[in-house]
C-alpha cells in the first residue's frame, strides 16, 4: 500500500496493485474457510482472471505498442 502511493515509477504501482489483488484473493479464500460457503471459489476464479487481463493491458498501454524487434 505504501509502495502504491510512493512508488517512483508507474510499473512499481502496477506490481503493487498486483500484490494487493493477490492479498484480496487470499482474504476471500480465508473467508470461505471461516463461513464454509463454497460459492466463494467462483469469486476467486474471476479475480485471478482479472489480475492477468489488467496486467497485460497496462503493460501494452505503457509501451504504446512498441517492442524490441
Amino acid at each position: 500500500m505504501v509502495r502504491l502511493l510512493k512508488g517512483p515509477t508507474l510499473p512499481d504501482r502496477v506490481i503493487s496493485l498486483d500484490l494487493l489483488a493477490f492479498v484480496a484473493l487470499g482474504i476471500v479464500l480465508l473467508n470461505m474457510i471461516i463461513t464454509g460457503e463454497l460459492e466463494y471459489l467462483d469469486i476467486v476464479i474471476v479475480i485471478s482472471l482479472v489480475i492477468f487481463i489488467a496486467t497485460v493491458a497496462i503493460a501494452k498501454y505503457l509501451t504504446k505498442g512498441k517492442d524490441y524487434d
Binding site: 506490481i15 498486483d18 487470499g26 476464479i45 485471478s48
Partner: protein
C-alpha cells in the same frame, strides 16, 4: 488430522504472502521488487488453495481449485515478464551494481 494439515498449509501460504509484501517494500529496484512479488505470491496462493481443497474435499471444490492453481501458474510469470519488459523499455532507473544487462546489449549486436 486433515484440519491440522489444512491449517499448516494456510499459515505457510499467508507467511509467503507476507514475505512478498516485505520484499515489495524494502528492495531497491523495480526488477528486484518484481522478483519478490511474483514468485512468492504464486506459491502462497497455491498453498492457501491447497488448504481450502483439503478442508472441503468435494468434487467441485477440488476441480475448481486445481483449475485456479494451473491458471495462476500459467499467467503470473507471463504478466510479470510483460511488466518488466515494459519497465525496461521505458528506461526505469536500475540499481547501481548490476553486472550485466543482455537486453541492452542486444541492440548493438544486430
Amino acid at each position: 488430522m486433515t484440519d491440522w494439515i489444512a491449517f499448516i498449509a494456510l499459515i505457510t501460504g499467508a507467511l509467503f504472502v507476507l514475505v512478498s509484501a516485505i520484499g515489495l517494500l524494502r528492495l531497491p529496484d523495480l526488477f528486484m521488487r518484481m522478483h519478490a512479488t511474483t514468485k512468492t505470491t504464486s506459491l502462497g496462493i497455491t498453498l492457501i488453495l491447497i488448504g481450502v481443497i483439503i478442508a472441503f474435499p468435494t468434487w467441485g471444490v477440488v476441480l475448481k481449485g486445481i483449475l485456479i492453481i494451473a491458471f495462476i501458474f500459467l499467467t503470473n510469470p507471463l504478466g510479470a515478464h510483460m511488466i518488466s519488459k515494459a519497465g525496461h523499455l521505458l528506461g526505469t532507473k536500475k540499481w547501481g551494481r548490476y553486472v550485466r544487462d543482455d537486453l541492452e546489449n542486444n541492440n548493438h549486436r544486430r
